[in-house]
């Protein structure tokens, strides 16, 4: 802290992107709710009104974060983590069940989704741990500890039956990967996911055939043939066995309705009454938007409530329908810009804590973005997680604002820090 830091020096681009996203969110929540007979903007009983109220609370949080010493968060990383864990436990014990998930703590008129705070707490603790001088996540002992730190809140959230929020934590692998976690942990799950989908789509023997051809080509190219052959044979046997078991499990172990969900997702099946309904309506809304969209408040699918959960998880449909490809691309650009900007600022930081924390924030943002839009576009299973800053929901907005504020403050404080 060689120089005085002023709030006016806070990273302008990031702040602007976040504010624009929040405004887009409010606009579209209004649009999604418009049909329900609500045409007023400032009405605190409406979703827009509530969201604006939460925006006020978030602003307050932002101001508080800017005022207090940022070392408060750094030093209290572990206690905050523990508190969020305790909140998760409390939710499991005393929480209220909403739409099948026991993820809400309701006290008086105040309701909170502790899983949103847990993301923040986990990033803090993980950052603190990775920032410790002698920690090297390429070592088994260290990455095991890191996995446990992430796994604990994840497990509690799974117990709450909120799979969507739990999956989000997996994205923290990105943070670990950046800090030196063996690439194996990032790529093997990815490859397995790809193999999994392929196994369901086509007969696995074809894929095995293709893999053999690829292996032969690689073996031909490499100099250390013995080792390449060994690895190839092992990989191919493993891949084939994996695909066979996926195929077997799919046809023998899964219930028909579970099979249908996966089939719908893979495009092998259309089940409009059941699991396919949301996605089908979502695709109709987005697809009917065309190049330039139907215009603000003119989206018929949006207005007439064809899409369930539109204010929250399926908010992107509104944008797709009312602003078309142009609007959707603008939103994609805004999000990727924000994520890349955080990445850029993090990489620029000499202060390791900020960099790791930044990676934590961008990982969570990225996974929300990817899964949420992926599911509205029918590319990902329907997992109920919100689109950051845009979806209706106070806890989510508050959680993301808190993360962003702390990151911006860290970035501002340690911009000119030299290691």
């Amino acid at each position: 802290m060689q120089e005085r830091s002023y709030i006016k020096n806070i990273d302008f681009l990031t702040t602007t992107l976040v504010i624009v996203l929040i405004l887009i969110g409010i606009l579209n929540i209004f649009s999604a709710e418009y049909s329900e007979g609500n045409t007023k903007w400032i009405d605190f009983s409406s979703s827009v009104g509530k969201q604006i109220k939460w925006l006020g609370v978030s602003l307050l949080v932002f101001v508080v974060v800017m005022i207090i010493d940022v070392r408060f968060f750094i030093n209290l990383s572990y206690p905050i983590y523990v508190i969020t864990l305790l909140l998760l436990v409390a939710t499991l014990l005393f929480g209220n069940e909403v739409a099948g998930s026991k993820s809400w703590l309701i006290y008086g008129g105040f309701s909170l989704q502790p899983s949103e705070l847990a993301k923040f707490g986990t990033i803090l603790a993980l950052t603190r741990f990775l920032d410790t001088t002698d920690v090297n996540v390429s070592k088994f002992r260290h990455y095991s500890i890191a996995f446990i730190m992430v796994g604990l809140p994840m497990g509690l959230i799974v117990l709450q039956n909120d799979i969507g929020s739990a999956i989000v934590f997996i994205s923290l692998i990105i943070v670990l990967y950046r800090q030196g976690l063996p690439g194996f942990f990032l790529f093997v799950p990815l490859l397995l996911a790809i193999l999994f989908i392929l196994a369901l789509l086509v007969n696995f023997l074809y894929i095995t055939g293709i893999l053999i051809l690829v292996a032969l080509f690689i073996i031909y190219l490499t100099t250390n043939r013995k080792r390449a052959i060994a690895i190839s044979v092992a990989s191919i046997i493993f891949a084939t066995a994996f695909m066979f078991s996926v195929d077997y499990l799919f046809t023998h172990a899964l219930q028909p309705h579970q099979q249908s969900r996966i089939n719908v997702l893979l495009g092998k099946d259309i089940d409009l009454q059941g699991s396919g309904y949301n996605v089908h309506q979502s695709l109709i809304a987005i697809g009917s938007g065309g190049f330039s969209g139907k215009g603000f408040l003119n989206g018929t699918q949006t207005k007439f409530n064809f899409i369930p959960e539109q204010k929250t998880d399926f908010i992107f449909c509104t944008i797709g329908e009312e602003y078309g490809l142009l609007g959707s691309v603008v939103l994609l650009l805004l999000f990727t810009s924000l994520i890349l900007r955080i990445l850029y600022l993090s990489e620029k930081q000499k202060f390791r804590y900020t960099r790791i924390f930044g990676y934590g924030v961008l990982s969570i943002l990225f996974v929300h973005f990817a899964i949420n839009i992926g599911m509205t576009l029918g590319l990902f299973p329907v997992i109920g997680i919100p689109l950051p800053f845009i979806s209706y929901g106070g806890s989510s907005l508050l959680g993301f604002t808190l993360m962003m504020s702390v990151f911006l403050k860290l970035e501002l404080e340690y911009r000119h820090y030299f290691n």
């Binding site: 049909s35 990105i174 990967y177 950046r178 800090q179 030196g180 990032l186 309506q281 695709l283 109709i284 809304a285 987005i286 697809g287 009917s288 938007g289 065309g290 190049f291 018929t300 699918q301 207005k303 007439f304 409530n305 064809f306 797709g320 078309g324 490809l325 959707s328 691309v329 994609l332 650009l333 999000f335 990727t336 994520i339 890349l340 990445l343 990489e347 390791r352 990676y359 961008l362 990225f366 973005f369 990817a370 839009i373 992926g374 576009l377 029918g378 590319l379």
Partner: protein, 637 residues
């Protein structure tokens, strides 16, 4: 940690990769795939058919015979229900909670999101109560439907009824009718279906996911308003029709009254009849079935479908044909020794003075005279054979509109029976029959049968002295104040007008001094010309037949009546025709001097065996009829 510095590139790659995948997917969805736009339209666009009000039917004086009345169906959309306690609703609807639950669960099985009929045709009072309280019963609403209303509950056979289209009607309409639409099923409703139905309108509306209307599409650019059906101005005279129906209460038979100059049917009655209103509403099918099963066949329109031997009324035609063919002159006289004798054949006649000239023969209804005329016509020596003679005679009969369809604007009009020569060939063999074999035709018996409509039309043709206009029930169409007539064909009878004089003089004498003298003199003010008939039939008592027109000069009304199994024409059909004529022509209706005759007709029971109150199905039951005094002497002859 510097060694991992380049790893951020992998992360950047992932982020951009996801962004690009999303972009491509969006591009495909929003620019390439047309189907989503169509899906979206299907989702929200709904084409609504707007039913036009059906055309009304008026009587000749502009009084409404058939109108439309709204009925209300209580509809429900189960998805929108949020009623916690249905007991209040049940009270209003006067159903039990169990019935409510049962109905609702049945409807839910059918559709959860689409509107279904909860209770059809709810009473108006219930509708009134509900209307103010619908906000309490979310999910329920009322759908107005239109049914036909008959302010006077008359002329059921003629007006007909409407009902739901059947499969064949939908198929043959080339897309005009849809399931649940109404179509005229009989009577004028059927004949003038194309005029009455109007044109269906269509409206495109945006629907939300609960199938609730959310406004018009493209500001109503594609909407078409419904066009109200054309109103019909019928030729019926409401009051005359009512009166004529009252005269036939408790009797089987029919009355047809025509305005000779125009061919307009003033009244057309078939008894037993029914109240047209019973073919609407909840009990429709039950009522229809009981009407159809009634042995007296109230659904059957006797006036145009039933065929009766014309009896002596046919002598008028015979007289005119004789004059036309020149085989007799007004002065031609034949003696009648109590009948017509040839060989073993005898056609009996009643007692009267003899010999009689043409005029007298009609007035007294002499059978022998017309046997002579018939033989003269058929056996005319200018014809090479009986076939030519018979066919010539037959064509003369047809020219009067007898034994053929007249083309009245109703379905199921009967042709009547006027045998062709091959019929007799079948009975007697080719060239094996002569005029004497078929002599009964001369007095309107045996193989000849005519409908009441043909008799009335024949009477009108005489009244007109040589022509008739196709009898009809619809004078003109009325559209939004615009009235445009229908043209009906004029049929000229190829005969010198002067030849009618003697026949009409004779008919004028029938009520005064002839066979209808029993009641005739009481109506002399109206100069009624008529002819009695007593139609023998193998099924029972003779039918009482009468044709008439009045006044003698410049006639205004021609009436024919056939009363089944009532005996002589003079006793029932004649006074009925007189009363109808009087009712139509007189200012004071009915006049004091003839009220007692009206009493006899209305209250009279002419044949206890066949009396049956067939109006029991009407809503207001009239039970005093069987208690009324019995006139026994009417059948003593």
């Amino acid at each position: 940690m510097i060694i991992h510095k380049s790893r951020h590139k992998v992360v950047v790659f992932f982020i951009i990769f996801v962004g690009v995948v999303f972009f491509l997917r969006l591009f495909f969805l929003q620019v390439f795939a047309e189907k989503y736009k169509q899906f979206a339209e299907k989702n929200v666009l709904s084409r609504k058919i707007i039913k036009p009000p059906r055309g009304l039917i008026y009587d000749r004086n502009g009084k409404i015979l058939v109108s439309n009345a709204p009925v209300y169906d209580l509809m429900v959309i189960p998805a929108q229900l949020n009623l916690e306690d249905a007991s209040e609703l049940c009270d209003i609807l006067q159903i039990t909670k169990e019935e409510y639950e049962e109905k609702l669960s049945e409807i839910k099985k059918f559709s959860y999101r689409k509107p279904s009929i909860f209770i059809n045709n709810i009473p108006l009072e219930t509708y009134g109560i509900l209307q103010e309280r619908f906000y309490e019963f979310k999910g329920f609403f009322v759908q107005p439907e239109s049914i036909r209303k008959y302010p006077y509950e008359i002329a059921a056979h003629v007006l007909g009824y409407i009902g739901e289209v059947n499969k064949e009607e939908i198929e043959s309409s080339e897309g005009y009718y849809l399931q649940g639409h109404n179509i005229g099923k009989s009577g004028l409703e059927k004949v003038y279906e194309n005029e009455l139905r109007g044109v269906y309108g269509e409206k495109y509306v945006l629907m939300d996911v609960y199938n609730t209307e959310q406004g018009s599409y493209l500001d109503g650019e594609l909407d078409r308003p419904a066009v109200t059906g054309t109103n019909l101005l019928s030729s019926l005279d409401l009051e005359l029709q009512q009166y004529a129906e009252s005269l036939l209460k408790g009797k089987k038979g029919s009355i047809v009254a025509i305005e000779p100059e125009t061919g307009e049917i003033l009244a057309i009655v078939s008894s037993p009849s029914y109240n047209p209103s019973v073919l609407y509403g909840r009990d429709r099918s039950m009522n229809y079935n009981s009407l159809a099963a009634d042995p007296d066949n109230p659904l059957f329109n006797r006036a145009i479908t039933a065929m009766y031997p014309p009896g002596s009324t046919f002598k008028v035609a015979m007289a005119l044909i004789g004059l036309k063919e020149g085989v007799i002159a007004p002065s031609t006289a034949y003696s009648c020794p109590g009948g017509y004798y040839i060989g073993n054949l005898r056609i009996a006649c009643h007692a009267h003075a003899s010999p009689l000239n043409l005029k007298q023969s009609l007035t007294q209804s002499c059978n022998a005279y017309y046997c002579h005329v018939f033989r003269n016509v058929i056996d005319l020596n200018t014809f090479p054979s009986i076939y030519d003679g018979y066919n010539n005679w037959r064509n003369d009969v047809i020219e009067f509109g007898l034994g053929q369809k007249l083309g009245v604007d109703l379905f199921n009009e009967a042709k009547g029976i006027l045998p062709k020569t091959d019929r007799y060939d079948k009975i007697y063999g080719r060239n094996r029959w002569k005029s004497t074999n078929i002599l009964s035709l001369a007095i309107g018996q045996a193989e000849i049968s005519l409908t009441p409509l043909q008799l009335a039309n024949f009477s009108a043709a005489i009244a007109n002295r040589g022509y008739y206009i196709t009898p009809h029930l619809v004078k003109s169409y009325m559209d939004e104040g615009r009235q445009y007539g229908k043209k009906y064909e004029k049929h000229l009878i190829q005969m010198d007008t002067s030849k009618y004089r003697v026949v009409i003089d004779a008919m004028a004498n029938v009520p005064r001094i002839g066979t209808a003298i029993r009641y005739g003199p009481y109506f002399k003010a109206y100069q009624i010309c008529g002819k009695t008939g007593t139609a023998q039939n193998p099924h029972g008592e003779d039918h009482s037949v009468f044709i008439s027109f009045a006044p003698k000069y410049n006639p205004k009304i021609a009436v024919a009546a056939v009363i089944e199994n009532a005996g002589q024409g003079a006793h029932w059909a004649a006074p009925i025709c007189f009363l109808v004529t009087e009712y139509y022509l007189s200012e004071a209706k009915p006049s004091e001097g003839t009220r007692w005759i009206e009493d006899i007709i209305i209250k009279g029971v002419y044949h206890p065996k066949v009396i049956k109150r067939v109006d029991e199905i009407t809503i207001v039951q009239e039970e005093n009829a069987t208690e009324s005094e019995t006139i026994t002497d009417e059948n003593s002859e």
